[in-house]
Symmetry: C2
Subunit: 285 residues, 2 copies
């Protein structure tokens, strides 16, 4: 695996591979890799000639009171995992290299025209998706891959990035890879290591609640509003703070008032001091 | 010359040329071509294997009361000029093709962090540079050229685009081509055709004022504030409305209080109903 810190060098390297006709798969990450990330890389290796990964803890997507500083950065462990996964290239840029002229330039969605980045995680984390859109526009231009691989766990993020790719004409295919879970259902996340053993047990409530709701909807229950209210009440009891639990259209993420054939259930909760998210995609018969 | 209306087809065509090792020069325009534009193309042809031009009157860079609808669109004449100039490719997309998911997604500079897009033309035309940044991000991703050619007449625009290229890591070189002028000094502009014969004569005042100021500075006059005030007074007398006349740093566009070695004088005025801009770059001995 070749490790590159300079974005220009990385860009030229990818460009040379493209010119040789190689198909490039790209996995943008913030490091602290787990099996969910490794699944993205496995999928990229299946579908491309070259797999490139970036590790960059992006400051502009963290709020002023969030965990930017304490976000885990186990560089040696990450690199070992990437070598084992037979990744070809790793981009590890500095903040100054990614934001050469400062952080004034940004990419965002106009919230008056589209509430996508204001809802759900956007409401709890103002500015978060602006940071995500901006850094992904940069990373995608640096890597210019044919395909990018993102985890379905960050469902809203994948919808936002889909919009970015389409609107900026990036000519990239975004592949949404199913969430990888612990045996008890907890979605893998780099933030799970923050959980104390007691919090870890309570964190099961997110996936359990989603699963139960999914079951009820698939058994034909139609009163979505009451189902959500009931589930919210139970979930709020298990966690320290319920941010949201909503049913939404899987493409627009508009909240739903009644069930429809394709839908996504989304939740975010704080357990201890750790904010966790999860979702489940439902296709009713 | 091959005319392409579909951005995806254009993108694939450019990509195929890149893969063959061809150097691509790109000239984004809003059409209504004049000798200033043709100079951009001539320069691109000197420096690249392939020259591609876009004609797209971008709605998002016009204010609600501006001339988007009446902006000249002489398509047949433009195409004839491009063929004469031996341009290889012309992209002529529709608004729907350029904004496939609507106009919610945008690129901008945070004005609290950097006043670049708020000053000068940004003050008179709020949202203008957001529109320019957004459409250029799209066009540059569609064309993925090695070099883009822009006229120095839109000096502030070239500074804004320079920032875009650097911050989004577009890997493009921006070439700023000197302004082409009529024999009496008026900078060529697609909007000059709006001018009545009487207004056309009065429009000379912009370049004349800039030239006089340049002369005084080069003769060693140092009281920039008084020079500007005097020039503003005279210019305001000749035109219908003086938007601004300022001296600025050529890289940051920060306004200057006293002369420095490298500077740019910038002005915008309304003559009749037509808004005109001009500038001159000064390098003191």
């Amino acid at each position: 695996m070749r490790i590159i810190t300079n974005p220009q060098v990385f860009q030229k390297t990818m460009e040379a591979l493209r010119e040789k006709g190689k198909q490039i798969g790209f996995v943008p990450t913030m490091g602290a890799l787990h099996h969910g990330h490794l699944e993205l890389m496995r999928r990229s290796k299946q579908e491309n000639d070259v797999t490139a990964v970036s590790i960059f803890v992006n400051p502009t997507q963290f709020g002023p009171k969030e965990d930017f500083r304490r976000y885990p950065r186990p560089a040696a462990r990450d690199q070992k995992l990437l070598i084992q996964a037979e990744v070809d290239f790793l981009l590890m840029p500095s903040v100054a290299a990614m934001y050469p002229a400062g952080t004034a330039l940004f990419v965002d969605l106009n919230s008056e025209q589209d509430g996508l980045t204001q809802r759900y995680c956007g409401q709890t984390r103002p500015g978060h998706f602006r940071g995500v859109l901006t850094v992904c526009a940069k990373l995608f231009n640096i890597a210019r891959p044919h395909r990018v691989y993102m985890g379905a766990k960050d469902y809203q993020q994948t919808v936002v990035i889909d919009r970015l790719i389409r609107e900026l004409h990036l000519g990239i295919k975004m592949v949404r890879v199913p969430t990888v879970r612990e045996s008890d259902g907890l979605a893998l996340s780099s933030r799970n290591i923050y959980l104390s053993p007691a919090d870890r047990r309570r964190a099961r409530a997110l996936s359990q609640t989603l699963q139960e709701l999914q079951g009820e909807l698939q058994r034909g229950k139609r009163n979505l509003k009451a189902l959500l209210q009931d589930a919210r009440r139970k979930l709020a009891h298990s966690v320290d703070k319920l941010d949201y639990l909503e049913a939404a259209d899987p493409v627009t993420l508009e909240p739903l008032a009644k069930p429809q054939k394709h839908m996504v259930l989304l939740t975010a909760c704080t357990v201890g001091k750790t904010r966790l998210i999860d979702n489940v995609i439902i296709n009713l018969p």
